[in-house]
């Protein structure tokens, strides 16, 4: 008797306490996910009734050169920011991983870009990149003069299709550096000191120690940072919206999420934009699966 009372109490409270979450999961996650699959087969502007188009949205997607351009630009962004960003963070973390005074102060400074909004920092970076009055061109010209060379003509960073995306990447690497550094620093501090001492006694040089102790020691965290970094890089939007609105110049900074945003909220093509969303999910999922496969070869557990 007693135990059935306990069981029914747990049933009652379990359902009661998770009720808001269950409702939220159904209304804001599971329902929308299923719904987005369904409207992907319709043409819909949300004002007139949806019209069934079968795989029409998919054929349109695969046939749209702008989608491929957006996908290419996004891949370029992922490849141009994640490896470099993490390598730099790792380097910084290794520099900081010693008993130094005031390391907390540096950590705080490095972390400042992480907590501030992309909108605000993208604005100041856009100002840096100003072709005529920007600090970046000034710094480059000064460096050339200092070296006794003739300064190059001012670079129109965000207005030239060749430099616009790299300029956005540079700002993004800068913004994410502190985040990855803090996580990697914590991981480095978890690598047992005695392993290094033993290796030193065995005559292993710094490179050997890095390759055979540091990397295996932090590899689970490195894997996490890479995976999460790739996922969030695929979703880049804010920088593009502020710095090169509309994916300018010549669609050289058009990313997948911007493409989705444009079709959904400027053109009101809700069915088509849902197809783009599903495609993005598939791409991120595939990228994550590849990394899980690769993990076996380099992550030490």
């Amino acid at each position: 008797m007693k135990s059935s009372g306990v069981a029914s109490t747990e049933r009652f409270w379990g359902l009661l306490l998770s009720a808001p979450y269950i409702a939220g999961l159904l209304v804001f996650a599971v329902g929308p996910i299923l719904f987005s699959w369904v409207i992907g087969f319709f043409a819909w502007d949300s004002l007139t009734p949806p019209r069934f188009v079968g795989f029409g949205n998919w054929t349109r997607l695969f046939g749209d050169p702008l989608f491929w351009k957006a996908l290419g630009n996004t891949l370029y962004f992922v490849i141009g920011t994640v490896p470099i960003g993490i390598a730099l963070s790792m380097l910084l973390a290794m520099l900081a991983n010693r008993p130094l005074r005031g390391i907390g102060f540096f950590r705080t400074l490095y972390f400042t870009p992480v907590v501030t909004s992309t909108v605000a920092v993208a604005l100041v970076w856009a100002w840096f990149y100003d072709p005529n009055y920007g600090v970046l061109n000034y710094a480059i010209a000064s460096a050339f003069k200092l070296a006794g060379l003739k300064p190059p003509s001012p670079i129109p960073w965000l207005a030239d299709p060749a430099t616009a995306m790299p300029a956005i990447m540079l700002m993004s690497v800068w913004k994410g550096l502190g985040y990855n550094m803090v996580i990697l620093l914590a991981a480095l501090q978890g690598v047992p000191r005695h392993l290094y001492e033993a290796a030193e006694i065995d005559g292993a040089g710094p490179l050997m120690r890095f390759r055979h102790i540091t990397i295996p020691g932090v590899s689970p965290v490195l894997f996490f940072v890479v995976t999460v970094g790739v996922i969030s890089a695929f979703q880049v939007f804010d920088q593009v919206y502020i710095m090169t609105r509309e994916g300018r110049p010549a669609d050289s900074t058009l990313t997948i999420v911007y493409y989705l945003y444009r079709h959904a909220f400027s053109n009101l093509e809700l069915g088509y934009a849902s197809t783009v969303g599903t495609a993005l999910f598939a791409i991120i999922f595939a990228a994550t699966l590849v990394q899980l496969q690769l993990r076996r070869h380099w992550v030490h557990t």
């Binding site: 599971v30 130094l100 605000a120 604005l123 979703q235």
Partner: protein, 281 residues
Amino acid sequence: MRGNASTPIAMLKDALVYAALTAVAFLMVFPFLWMASTSLKTLGEAFEYPPRFLPASPQWSNYSRLAEAIPMAKFLLNSVKITGLTVIGTLLSCSMAGFALSALNFPGRGALFTTTLATLMVPYQVTLIPVFILCQHLGWKDTHYPLWVPAFMGSAFGVFLLRQFFLAIPRDLYEAAMIDGCTPGGIVFRIYIPLAKPALTTLGVFTFMNSWNDLLNPLIYIDTLDKMPLTAGLSFLQSQYSSDWPMMMAGAMVSILPILAIFVFAQRTFVEGISTSGLKG
């Protein structure tokens, strides 16, 4: 402890490391200094070449011009309201569901946990459009509701995080409180939530940062200028005054100062919250 500066070589090494760390720190902070400096320049000074690093005399009037051009105080208030409600809602709903999933036996618990894990993998762009349509039907377009109401219904990420944390709390505490006549509802608030402070802080910090810095959702939902949070307001400012750099930098300063103040005050919490659980919004 190994002594740092015991030998000249170790001292030199430390000096080099400090020099490198300082150089990087300068690169990290310079954009903020430049933002502050530009926000106090005259328009003429902003367009001087070579650039002038400090204004001849600080032009605080840029900030009053900003306040006249756009409803900056309203943006700030909207951000505070939306972010405040989002953080409270997330912590509350995720604690309750996380507790239920970790400590209570109820029908559908396994399915609920599996669904939580499955939705964690889906990027938010997939649900963006259906949720937008739903909110339109609810009459929530151009209101703050879409930006905070969902938080009161939990997030898969927060529920997962807190469930994992709650699992580490000894079951004996739960049993003892039950014997003392506490209900499971009382146990969450009196025992589990106080014990889960580190996890709740981490979740709170992330929720705060994501909500405060969110641009896409306000862009989609809010049309009226007076209802915009800071991010959307700043983007509006940029679209209207795209060459008035001093005023735009003043706007950017106003938008980052609150979060910077909180960060400086609670930087240990931020940094440790992230390095221990390594999450990203």
